[in-house]
């Protein structure tokens, strides 16, 4: 068959441009074009470099050129990141300008000026590139219906990053709203390759749903840094390998170093500068930096003006940033999908493999890195778990709806349950959320005269906003991302970015810390501004950002277990890791794939129990708390516990004799409710819920409320509410959130169901080699922030190693 004849894209307006570039159409682009043209909603799965963005725009551009001078908004493009939105504009510009197509396109995000936004509302472009939050805002305007009534396509880029969080809930509700405004609207989703493609399809598609998939046959080349140095037992900063990382940067034209936290980014950046003898151009990029600083780095990156950028997930998504030759991932990969996404940032060319180097920061991470590489070879991707939509997001959506004009609650309910995350939302919960927006939804009806929305007297199903001033409050509080309370950092009159309030509270005047790659001295804090000056101090702190602990994916955890159980260690690991594991094998045991190793030993007057679960930090944290209670019940006098992704360690005054009796499903059923009552998890989530549902405001018009105040009043509300109205919808919502996200309930349940039959109990006389990393974390957590310097850790480490009698391993 002659492919040319059957390829409808040869007549596409972009074909000329493609030809000039000597590019040809991908099969998945042809397929998508056909499906969309015949009225299907489509999700396209393709790796980076396979023209994914273009795939989304093929049908809109075809339409727009045929329609000639189409007036108004035709296509909406949703991007998960502001920076990505800017990048899309840059890339769309090229063909449209070169071909002189009469298509207008603009970007609209939180960074767009009010003047420009106003103009966009009066004269919308054909293509608008925006974020889920900006879309929600657009939908809250009174003229939203007019604005969108001609909308033909909505393109959701990087849809895989949306699916399992509250932003997805918000987006899904707003897509349904658009569909109401413009019933002919078609949906196109663009995604990285996923394991559960059907779920993504169900989430997005309504009309003749179709999946288009393109698998890359060229595998990325990923290896672990061959370090001559000693890999630390514990820690997350990779100080040991800094010289080797520097050498790798020198070898490549352009390198991105990905790290897992903002603190790691600052630390890595600082350490690279300390040894930057060749004066390489190194930059840092993370979400807390001021917009202008971020944009500058992004620009330099796309123009190839830097040698290396140290980045967090802030640079994970998007199109080409120039010719990135190499990716260095420092720290645990945490998930296969995440690693692939990051690795895919190098070499945006399908036929040459991406190149990446993994730098584990400690020994367990080495095994995790190795496991991740094995899984990528097998193309065994992570599954994304779709969750039931959150209540607080519905509440915010109800408020937004009221801002746009009066509404019928039955119509709204019918629209909401069309959204996939809310297909099971029942009407009574929905009604409670209406009440929540109306007057807080309390049983005690005290606020009759102060409602926010009210029912029309002539039709009780119609609700209306009491007062237009409320729209301003909604607009200041839109969105589902709740950052920890942040303060702006000012160097002179220049804003450098945002820093956690908690961090600043622990500083005294004159203390120095590192931010945006500079050593700064804390001078004063006024209102929400932290005034700093440059410092020459050598001792400085790194701001920690408490959010964003990435969960270890179940898939990768299983593969770590499988890898650990393999006996051909010498082939898999460098000598130091092999020796570590061999010694573990001799002293204790290396658990088989389906075994749960429990080690017990005395240490410094206390009794230690270490459980290797490999269920990730969230689940381990929960299990730790539950076990504390279990131990208490058996009168073992537990003193504390520490958890990481792989294991939990508990210490107690008395010997724990009945671990097999305690560690089972009963533990979860018996103690979970108490645990939730006692810890601050639900309380903290309540704060997010109260803000997202607009019960309390993160900012008041004209007046910044400091984070402390928000935190304070939400805690008070939580306490009063729990005492007086334990069934309140926001409490229910917070509990659901806790179960879904913070405590990894389902995952823990799965493990506890089968664990009791698979426990391998080892009674030891002293700490085992495998336990050293987690025991080290105990000391880290108990150290004050000032002391968590790597040097001190090393010191501590030696002390504990001596104790474990394994010093010779080095």
């Amino acid at each position: 068959m002659n492919i040319n004849k059957s390829n409808p894209l040869l007549l596409h307006p972009l074909n000329k441009w493609m030809k000039k570039k000597k590019w040809s159409w991908f099969p998945h682009q042809i397929e998508t074009f056909r499906y969309v043209r015949t009225g299907s909603d489509v999700v396209v799965f393709a790796p980076t470099g396979a023209g994914k963005t273009l795939t989304g725009f093929i049908n809109p551009i075809d339409d727009l050129t045929k329609l000639k001078k189409f007036k108004g908004l035709h296509t909406l493009y949703i991007s998960p990141l502001k920076s990505l939105a800017n990048d899309i504009v840059r890339n769309l510009e090229k063909p449209i300008k070169e071909l002189d197509l009469n298509i207008s396109f603009q970007v609209r995000t939180g960074d767009t000026t009010p003047y420009k936004k106003q103009k966009q509302k009066q004269k919308p472009p054909n293509i608008l590139i925006t974020t889920p939050e900006s879309l929600a805002l657009l939908n809250s305007y009174e003229n939203a219906k007019e604005f969108f009534h001609n909308l033909k396509y909505i393109i959701i880029d990087e849809i895989h990053t949306f699916l399992d969080n509250k932003r997805a809930d918000l987006l899904s509700l707003n897509i349904e709203r658009l569909q109401t405004f413009s019933p002919n609207l078609q949906r196109i989703g663009l995604s990285a390759t996923l394991k559960n493609k059907q779920d993504a399809k169900k989430w997005l598609c309504r009309k003749k749903p179709k999946i288009v998939s393109y698998e890359n046959s060229v595998l990325p080349k990923i290896k672990i840094l061959q370090s001559k140095e000693r890999i630390p037992w514990s820690g997350h900063m990779a100080t040991y390998s800094i010289n080797e990382i520097y050498k790798e940067i020198m070898k490549s034209k352009l390198t991105i170093i990905f790290v897992n936290t903002r603190a790691q980014a600052e630390y890595m950046f600082k350490n690279l500068w300390l040894i930057n003898k060749k004066k390489l151009k190194i930059a840092v990029h993370h979400g807390s930096l001021e917009k202008n600083l971020r944009l500058k780095v992004e620009n330099n990156l796309s123009k190839g003006l830097v040698d290396c950028v140290v980045a967090t997930s802030s640079l994970e998504l998007g199109l080409d940033y120039g010719d990135v030759e190499k990716i260095i991932q420092v720290g645990a990969p945490k998930g296969i999908n995440r690693l692939l996404q990051r690795v895919g940032r190098s070499n945006h060319n399908l036929n040459t493999p991406s190149k990446a180097i993994l730098v584990p920061t400690n020994r367990f991470e080495f095994i995790e890195a190795k496991a991740a590489i094995e899984e990528i070879k097998k193309n065994n991707l992570d599954k994304i778990d779709l969750k039931e939509g959150s209540f607080d997001v519905v509440a915010q959506h109800i408020f937004a709806t009221a801002c746009a004009g009066q509404f019928d609650i039955n119509d709204l309910y019918v629209e909401i349950i069309k959204a996939y995350p809310y297909k099971n939302l029942n009407f009574s919960d929905f009604k409670e959320l209406i009440n929540l927006i109306q007057d807080g939804g309390y049983v005690l009806k005290n606020y009759d005269q102060f409602k926010r929305i009210f029912q029309l007297r002539e039709n009780k199903n119609i609700y209306k906003l009491v007062n237009r001033r409320e729209t301003r409050k909604y607009r200041m509080n839109v969105g589902t991302i709740i950052e920890n309370p942040m303060l702006k950092i000012k160097l002179g009159t220049k804003t450098l970015g945002n820093i956690e309030e908690v961090f600043i509270q622990n500083l005294s005047q004159g203390d120095s810390f590192i931010f945006a790659g500079q050593v700064l001295e804390f001078q004063s804090m006024k209102n929400n501004l932290v005034q700093v000056k440059r410092s020459k101090s050598l001792i400085s702190k790194i701001p920690s950002y408490s959010g964003g602990r990435m969960p270890l994916s179940t898939n990768l955890a299983n593969s770590v277990r499988a890898l650990l159980a393999k006996s051909n260690m010498r082939e898999l690991y460098p000598d130091q890791i092999t020796e570590w594991l061999t010694r573990q094998k001799n002293i204790s045991k290396i658990p088989k794939k389906d075994e749960y190793l429990v080690e017990q030993f005395p240490r410094k007057k206390n009794f230690y129990t270490v459980i290797y679960t490999f269920v990730g930090w969230h689940a381990n944290q929960t299990l730790g708390f539950l076990l504390l209670r279990g131990f208490k019940e058996f009168n073992y006098k537990p003193l504390g516990f520490v958890a990481n992704d792989y294991a939990i360690v508990l210490w107690s005054l008395k010997e724990v004799k009945e671990i097999k009796t305690i560690l089972n499903l009963g533990l979860l059923d018996k103690h979970l409710d108490n645990y939730l009552e006692e810890t601050s998890i639900v309380k903290r989530l309540f704060r997010d819920n109260a803000i997202i549902s607009c019960l309390i405001e993160r900012r008041l018009p004209g007046m910044e409320k400091t984070g402390k105040q928000v935190l304070f009043s939400s805690d008070l509300i939580y306490t009063v509410l729990k005492k007086n109205e334990p069934d309140h919808i926001l409490l229910k919502s917070s509990y659901e959130d806790a179960k879904k996200n913070m405590i990894d309930y389902d995952r823990l349940r799965e493990i506890l169901k089968k664990i009791d039959k698979k426990i391998i109990l080892k009674k030891l006389t002293s700490i085992s080699p495998l336990a050293v990393p987690i025991i080290l974390e105990i000391n880290r957590e108990n150290l004050s922030k000032k002391e968590t310097d790597e040097y001190i850790l090393e010191d501590l480490e030696n002390e504990i190693l001596k104790e474990a009698n394994v010093l010779s391993i080095n």
Binding site: L444, Y447, F450, E470, K473, Q505, K723, E725
Partner: protein, 217 residues
């Protein structure tokens, strides 16, 4: 009830974890900044806090009055949050208060929040003098020892790298500031300018209020 002894102006006071202060010699209970009806006043700005604050504050007060049976109750200001607050006092509340007034003398010192509000049956004062003590909402220029409210003091405690804030009683040689007896009320750092201007920074006696106990720093 556990209490913490506070020596102030050569007199002994008991600080209770419910944020009240008791002057045993004169059988007088002192509270401050109840901000009754704050929730309803917020509701008029569409901030819907749980409407249970008035109920809880009064319950706490009544429990204290039942236990201590003081001859006098001195409220050093901001009994009410604002004029809307009176809406949250139901008939039954007025009735209950009336009953307690039979055995206890209620002395309501006006604060900045309730300066212009009247409640039937309540005697009110701008300030009130007993012996060498002056009870006032905000301290004034005087040679007397002053017991006041207004600032809702809280203390920042940094310990083992963790920072916590605790509502506190605080005094220097001449001035004692009570914590707020309210439940939806915030607090002000003892190191803030506002409080430093009144108490200075040195020689402060700070008594953080814990769950069941008042501590001493």
């Amino acid at each position: 009830m556990y209490y913490q002894l506070i020596n102030f102006g050569d007199e002994e006071f008991y600080a209770y974890p419910n944020k009240s202060l008791y002057w045993k010699r004169l059988n007088t209970l002192i509270i401050s900044d109840l901000h009754i009806g704050k929730s309803i006043s917020y509701a008029k700005n569409k901030q819907f806090l749980p409407p249970y604050d008035t109920k809880e504050i009064l319950n706490e007060l009544f429990v204290s009055l039942d236990k201590i049976k003081p001859s006098n109750l001195i409220i050093v200001g901001d009994l009410l949050h604002d004029i809307f607050s009176t809406l949250s006092l139901k008939d039954q509340d007025h009735k209950n208060i009336g009953q307690y007034m039979e055995n206890t003398d209620f002395i309501w010192i006006k604060g900045n929040h309730d300066r212009n509000i009247q409640i039937e049956g309540f005697k009110n004062f701008t300030n009130y003098e007993i012996d060498k003590f002056l009870f006032t909402h905000i301290p004034i220029e005087t040679h007397l020892f002053q017991i006041c409210g207004h600032y809702h003091p809280k203390v920042k405690i940094i310990h083992r790298g963790k920072t916590i804030f605790k509502t506190s009683f605080v005094h220097n040689e001449k001035i004692l500031i009570l914590p707020s007896f309210g439940i939806l009320t915030g607090g002000l750092d003892i190191n803030s300018k506002e409080i430093s201007n009144v108490l200075g920074k040195k020689n402060l006696n700070i008594y953080p209020v814990g769950q069941d106990k008042v501590y001493k720093l």
